[in-house]
């Protein structure tokens, strides 16, 4: 059993297999909530896992970068003591989609780059991902195929499962995945050539079924060269409700704010929580000066971070994995595919030669 091996896991063995995994670590998986919403959450038993879920709106990134994460606790007064918090638990995220795996790999790289973030590292070291191939795009809004992050992964996964009808093709992609596989190894059978051939057919079929297109190359060109006139950004920004859904639902977004929260016993906890570059308070300084004072500058900021060549050089890839959540969530079409389309149209308008005015002679 080693990295790169492929196996077959019968669907009837699935609950037992993940029960074996769940014995060693907590299981995070898509789970049905009251009303039928399927959201990634801690599951007590693998029977609760919803395998054929559509696409959860709330990305599983919060198990690596929690919405509120306690950093340390301290006492105040004469005797100030700083108490670090215990290490995070071991966990397996089961049923995660390829786009979200790509997003987590992006975040791991970002948080480990230059200066290592100890909290993210501790969580990502304790997390193993069992990702699942999308046999067809789970939602109309999906455009991972434009972002090199799905519907299946060539690399970067720990364990990847492909639904082949009555069985799953089980691929090991990392040492972490290999170690986790040992827990249920007796249920796996080596894959046969017909299984890998079937997998190939599913890949080709999935690739052909996408309906949403994001012209990433155009997006990168527009924002990297800073050629989009400010009024285009202001036009786009004028519709923003500043709800922050785009950044909070984005599996790639990493920005956080830090606050000291009082505890009932007189202690304080320093915790970090998600923040959004779409809020005016994101850059506002204590003096009142705000370097990004308008909606347009903030929308520009978001797309600059997502798609500029300058950030691609820093982060190794562009900051969009095509999960389509911003497409579903944004009420005013400030999502990546729409904005690129709207910028293309607007550029066309602004770049046309102005007709000479009759009075100019």
């Amino acid at each position: 059993m080693k990295v790169g091996d492929t196996y077959i896991l019968a669907k009837t063995d699935l609950p037992m297999f993940f029960a074996a995994i769940g014995h060693e670590m907590r299981l995070i998986a898509p789970r049905a909530f009251f009303g039928g919403d399927v959201i990634f959450d801690i599951v007590e038993s693998p029977k609760e896992i919803v395998w054929n879920y559509g696409h959860d709106i709330y990305p599983p990134k919060r198990f690596l970068l929690p919405h509120y994460e306690d950093m340390f606790r301290y006492t105040t007064g004469d005797d100030v003591r700083i108490e670090p918090l215990p290490a995070p638990p071991k966990q397996a995220i089961v049923g995660i989609r390829s786009c979200d795996v790509s997003a987590i790999r992006f975040q791991e790289r970002f948080f480990g780059d230059q200066i290592d973030d100890p909290y993210y590292r501790a969580r990502s070291e304790n997390t193993v991902l069992f990702s699942i191939v999308c046999n067809k795009p789970p939602k109309r809004e999906c455009f991972c195929i434009c972002c090199d992050s799905g519907p299946y992964l060539e690399s970067g996964f720990d364990v990847q499962l492909t639904d082949l009808g009555d069985r799953y093709l089980y691929e090991i992609g990392s040492e972490k995945g290999e170690q986790a596989t040992q827990l249920g190894a007796f249920m796996l059978k080596p894959a046969e050539p017909k299984d890998t051939a079937e997998r190939k057919r599913i890949e080709l079929q999935a690739d052909s079924l996408f309906q949403t297109v994001a012209y990433m190359a155009k997006a990168i060109m527009f924002v990297s060269e800073d050629q989009v006139p400010a009024q285009v950004w202001e036009e786009l920004g004028s519709t923003c409700f500043r709800c922050g859904a785009c950044t909070n639902l984005c599996p790639v977004c990493t920005c956080f704010t830090v606050e000291d929260r009082p505890e009932p016993n007189g202690c304080f906890t320093r915790c970090r929580s998600w923040d959004s570059c779409q809020f005016s308070g994101f850059t506002r300084e204590a003096s009142g000066h705000n370097p990004r004072p308008t909606f347009g500058t903030r929308v520009q900021r978001r797309f600059y971070h997502k798609a500029s060549y300058q950030y691609i050089l820093r982060d190794g890839r562009h900051g969009c994995v095509g999960c389509g959540r911003c497409v579903s969530a944004c009420l005013t079409k400030l999502d990546l595919p729409s904005v690129v389309k709207r910028i293309r149209r607007a550029m066309h308008k602004y770049l046309q030669p102005q007709p000479a005015s009759p009075n100019s002679s």
């Binding site: 100030v80 956080f256 370097p291």
Partner: protein, 294 residues
């Protein structure tokens, strides 16, 4: 584990390594408090942990994340001489939640320090050159370590000028230093205020009005500037007119900041994190950031 800052071959960068203690502050004690202006105080700090204090090394231009326990964390630049090993000073303007809480602290109170962070003024690289320091308001604080360092190694540098502008005579920071520096004949200090009062006999006007008095050869000089954005903009324009090249005008920038280590995303200007790649930039580097609008 100690946060260390070293200057790599790259002129403006600094590497930091802190491991698991990256976000945990070290406790420091307020040894003394100096009232600078009605809204500014300078805090003299010493680390509680003597081992840490010995290993703590920083360069002029760097900053720390200052924790006021119970209030939060804010980035503050070093303001003391880098040659002082037993203590360091932070000059804090009372503006927001953390700085407001800091101003209420008495002598002997404990605060948290995380750092040193960021890069530094290029004091080694500019040896042998004339130095023109231009600052406005509390912008003198991050430049004070550089000034004190240059004065301590005065023979390594050429002509040395300071232009300092404040809003009113009462808003002048480091009045004791300014009085001391004015006595030196190897350091030319020119001051101005926006609005004078009956006791003020010096210049009145913005800091750029002092530039024509400066006798310096721009071909072999460097300008170190820090102040409000509007001041930076107009001094840079004037310096360009005087013949300074773009890489010889060096500025310390400021942004709202949380983590100080390039993770929280608040201080980004385009793709550059002010906390790790700055806060010190040359005008040539700043021009590559369209968001600054230069």
């Amino acid at each position: 584990m100690v946060l260390t800052a070293s200057r790599p071959a790259n002129m403006w960068g600094v590497t930091i390594g802190a491991g698991d203690r990256l976000y945990l502050p070290q406790i420091a004690i307020i040894e003394d408090i100096i009232d600078e202006t009605p809204d500014t105080k300078t805090f003299k700090l010493r680390f509680e942990d003597e081992e840490f204090a010995k290993a703590f090394k920083w360069e002029p231009g760097q900053f720390v994340e200052l924790t006021v326990f119970g209030a939060g964390e804010a980035p503050i630049g070093f303001a003391s001489s880098p040659l002082e090993k037993s203590f360091f000073e932070l000059t804090v303007v009372n503006r927001g939640k953390v700085t407001g809480a800091m101003h209420l602290l008495p002598k002997g109170a404990k605060v948290g320090i995380r750092g040193p962070l960021g890069n530094c003024w290029p004091l080694e690289q500019i040896k042998g050159m004339d130095v023109l320091v231009i600052s406005g308001g509390c912008g003198l604080a991050p430049l004070r370590p550089a000034i004190l360092y240059i004065l301590a190694n005065r023979n390594d540098y050429g002509e040395f000028w300071l232009l300092y502008g404040a809003r009113t005579p009462a808003d002048r920071d480091f009045k004791y230093d300014l009085a001391e520096w004015a006595k030196r004949d190897d350091f030319h200090v020119l001051e101005t205020v926006d609005v004078g009062d009956e006791s003020w006999t010096g210049n009145v006007g913005v800091v750029t009005t002092l530039l024509p008095h400066v006798k310096i050869n721009p071909a072999n000089a460097v300008a170190l500037t820090c102040g409000p954005p509007i001041m930076i903009k107009f001094t840079t324009i004037e310096l360009m007119k005087m013949g300074f090249s773009e890489d010889r005008v060096v500025t310390s920038l400021e942004r709202y900041m949380k983590c100080g280590v390039g993770k929280c995303g608040h201080c980004c200007i385009n793709h550059v994190y002010i906390c790790t790649e700055g806060p010190v930039f040359t005008y040539a580097d700043m021009k590559k950031l369209p968001e600054l609008g230069l």
